[in-house]
Symmetry: C2
Subunit: 338 residues, 2 copies
């Protein structure tokens, strides 16, 4: 019996030893081109995980927070959740004949984006509430999943969940392999992002922070349910991001990843803690493989944070220069030919 | 070199093998008397962890939620955070000379509990806001920690962090050893509970859900801080508990532990999910070692949930009968003699 145990442990041991050698040779960030951005990531992870080193951080404190739209997946020509809202208005229109004559619904149904934009935040809020409230949390999750399964990006023609950034998937995995706990801190709806975060990013629902509607507990047909109310509970954007991080996590992360001014306060909050800190901005400068936008963009505007980055020592990633591939499943050549 | 690695793995292997045998013999719930309550816990854990069994639950879905006051630590003669409020009013009084003539502060300073009680929820809210707002989140954490280090229970004379329930500490550890993720879902303030949850319960801050004040992000002397505002953000009690669980965790736990009607909706919510479910109520019926209260208590009232327990198959723990010891570091004899 003891012999069997020993034999098993030996073979397991050898697998482990060889496995580690193999993984030490493979590059965990193989979709990143060599350069300052990649080097800064590798250097930071090396120093906080070096036991006995001056910058060593205990695993429990290795918390990394990631914005979602524009940082982990595509956000142009509009936030994916925005495209979901428009599709839902179209899908629900038969049940709401009055929408044909009511703004901003009329504008959506007539594809009149100018009038829609003119309806402003109040108009947008009306559309969001008409499509995000009145159902249970479980019903909402199913609606989102069904939509994600069939919707296609207007320019790239692929499902949105294919339009996550391969280099960022590798970065998430690399951090987790080094004892980090990875969180999403999204301006988008928490229950929207949770429908795909585990599958796509390996981030479980309890590690997703986001904006939310109020929900109400009630007993329906003898069964307790949570109903989504047409009222904002929390906006997890700009100043809301550090607030959300403190509310949900209760300790300060040591690394933050974003791509827009909506992530600025999160990066500031993370950078202001004691000990080693890491901040990174994805700069969308690749009009061929994705999009090229920053200071003047309505969606994902990157202006103040881009100015602050060099002063703070934050890494700015050039999508064009630093990423070998952008999306999973396409080589650089394929991406260029598209 | 390879020989050294093998030798090391073999010795490690043997340690593991013997270690597992030893822990299989020790009772992980040694402070629980044998009986229906203990048996129900052990049975539930066995069935959800039995791979290939009909009730097997994937580790990621093994989420257990625990109320804090009265479930994990003492809540009589008043919630510990209530006693903190009273002490803070006394400590801050020199800076607020007007409190001597202003209710409900006057009542606190004169130990006039009758007038204090008569001030009702509005009065209590005033006291809470005067003691829980106006400082940064980090300052508040320090204030709570300093208080917990020196305050003593009025009857038992021990620090509150000693008045956690030993059988529940064992239960938390037992669940975690079986792949469960343990959460606190408290009606108390999330930033209050987080100051001791990791130390006392092994529950990290990101696994504590609770009531909260609004916080505001601002830059003070060039440094970003979060300031606690004198306004309620969320009440994590009664209907708020399932709402909080959905908001923070985003999936339904499979086990819930409480002790009062404030936990009823949480237990209902957890019980209503698919697959194996577990609900437990701690019944405080031990006037010798702790307190004896249920249906008519102002603090931790247990009435509707106690009626519902047998119908739902929830385990009701008799503190008197089911717990060998109540608090860590005291034997049953010592506890009786106190």
């Amino acid at each position: 019996m003891k012999i069997i145990v020993l034999t098993f442990l030996i073979s397991l041991g050898l697998v482990l030893v060889f496995g580690q050698q193999a993984s030490a040779q493979a590059d965990p960030l193989s979709s990143w081109n060599d350069g300052a951005a990649k080097a800064s990531i590798v250097r930071f992870v090396a120093k906080v995980t070096k036991q006995g080193g001056p910058d060593y951080v205990l695993p429990a404190d290795r918390i990394a927070v990631f914005d979602n739209d524009g940082t982990l997946w595509i956000e142009q020509p509009l936030y994916v959740q925005g495209l979901f809202v428009l599709d839902r208005v179209r899908a629900l229109a038969p049940r709401h004949p009055e929408w044909k004559d009511t703004q901003p619904f009329k504008a959506v149904l007539e594809n009149d984006m100018e009038t829609l934009a003119a309806s402003g935040p109040k108009g947008i809020a009306e559309l969001v509430m008409a499509t995000h409230a009145g159902m249970t949390t479980e019903e909402f999750g199913r609606i989102v999943k069904d939509w994600l399964a069939t919707a296609r990006h207007p320019k790239l023609g692929r499902p949105y969940t294919d339009l996550v950034y391969q280099p960022m998937l590798e970065l998430l995995a690399f951090l987790r392999a080094n004892g980090f706990k990875t969180y999403i801190v999204s301006g988008g709806g928490v229950e929207f992002v949770r429908t795909f975060s585990e599958d796509r990013y390996g981030i479980p629902p309890e590690q997703v922070i986001g904006s939310s509607n109020l929900t109400r507990f009630e007993i329906r047909d003898g069964k307790p349910v949570l109903v989504r109310e047409p009222e904002i509970d929390f906006i997890d954007d700009h100043e809301g991001k550090p607030v959300g991080i403190n509310k949900f996590i209760g300790r300060r992360p040591i690394a933050a990843f974003g791509n827009s001014d909506g992530d600025l306060q999160m990066l500031q909050w993370v950078a202001a803690g004691e000990g080693p800190r890491f901040g990174l901005l994805v700069h969308h400068d690749d009009s061929v493989r994705e999009y090229d936008y920053d200071r003047s963009s309505h969606v994902g505007r990157l202006d103040r944070a881009l100015d602050e980055a060099p002063r703070r020592g934050w890494t700015v990633v050039s999508m064009k220069r630093d990423w070998k591939t952008v999306f999973p499943g396409y080589s650089r050549e394929q991406e260029k030919q598209r």
